[in-house]
Amino acid sequence: MKHIIKIITLLVAISAFWIGLLQASVIPSSHTWLLPIYFIVSLGCYGLLMVGVGLMRFPTCPQEALLLQQDIVEAKDFLKQKGVDVGGSD
């Protein structure tokens, strides 16, 4: 099944539920009419929230850059001894 069809199915199910609500008028229909807007707004909020949380908790590793520099020095020493040409470039 195409993935987009799964998503469309989900959206159709939600719409069906909404139309059901409209028909059954369990809650006042003026409220029901606004539900899709709430849905879109909350989807947007979810997106922004996830990006925000992701940014705040973005894992960084400054110590890794230092360790890498040590590894580079070590590797260069070894390779120079073995006659590999590691000088000059960059």
């Binding site: 099944m1 195409k2 993935h3 987009i4 998503i7 997106g47 996830m50 990006v51 992701g54 940014l55 973005f58 894992p59 960084t60 590793c61 400054p62 890794e64 850059a65 890498l68 590894d71 580079i72 590797a75 260069k76 070894f78 390779l79 073995k82 006659g83 590999v84 040409d85 590691v86 470039s89 960059d90």
Partner: protein, 254 residues
């Protein structure tokens, strides 16, 4: 435990590294791979796209040090793209597992043992390195780069439900047969290719595991992320949304 030890001896890992003008980095990378993979049978396959900076000369010198059976140079005449570089390397791989990683030292070979261990413990078809969990991380990105990365990730997870946390990372271990299967159906280029690989593998129902890795952005030169990359990403996302998933793929399997 003993069974694991046995497996370790039987398995062979082919590490495919595409290069273009990486004469210094590839030497450092090879040293670090040999340093961190001591009791494992492996080979390094360098796919060089005709670098003008003498990368291939360095490879030949490294072959003198480590042996021509451990470091294989499989060059191509010119720049032909990342996806085909893996296909090319794969043709020459003699291991039953394949590791793909970048040559620019943003992927550190010290994580290779954890990939191998994870695969042995779980029997996974793919082990993918992830930067976005505890123990992982990124160094060298500015706020804009982080923001784009997070936005792209939330978008992809909301739309594609991929089941892995790092879609565009490219430090991965595959069972050879699985890589051959997945790569044959991929058409994207650049880093969208990495996303397509993992999404397709996930939809085909392959067992995917993750290990944390750190990513130190390349020391020399800057990695670009401009408007065109974002457009490419969105196109890739739309393309993957319109692809057939699991059941169809398996039933139409040649």
């Amino acid at each position: 435990m003993e069974g694991q030890q046995k497996n370790k001896e039987k398995n062979k890992y082919s590490i495919i590294v595409p290069t273009y003008n990486e004469r210094l980095n590839i030497a450092l990378l090879v040293y670090l791979i040999f340093k961190h993979l001591r009791d494992v049978d492996f080979e390094i396959i360098v796919v060089d796209d005709g670098s003008p900076d003498g990368t291939q000369e360095i490879i030949k010198q490294l072959q003198q040090v480590y042996g021509e059976d451990r470091i294989l140079l499989r060059a191509r005449p010119r720049k032909l793209g990342l996806g085909t570089a893996y296909v090319h390397g794969l043709k020459h791989a003699s291991g039953n597992f394949v590791v793909i990683m970048d040559a620019d030292l943003s992927h550190h070979p010290k994580y290779l043992p954890s990939f191998i261990k994870k695969q042995l413990d779980t029997g996974a078809s793919i082990v993918t390195g992830t930067r976005y969990v505890k123990g992982g991380g990124v160094h060298g990105w500015n706020l804009m780069r982080k923001l784009t990365s997070r936005g792209a990730n939330v978008l992809a997870h909301t739309l594609l439900w991929p089941g892995v946390s790092d879609l565009t990372g490219s430090f991965r271990l595959y069972k050879k047969s699985v890589l051959e299967d997945v790569i044959s159906s991929c058409v994207s280029k650049g880093y969208v290719f990495q996303m397509e690989m993992i999404v397709r593998a996930s939809r085909k129902g392959y067992h995917i595991e993750e290990v944390p890795i750190t990513f130190v952005d390349r020391v020399y030169g800057s990695s670009k992320l401009g408007g065109s990359e974002i457009v490419e990403y969105l196109k890739g996302l739309a393309y993957l949304l319109l692809q057939w998933s699991a059941i169809r793929n398996i039933s139409s399997d040649k």
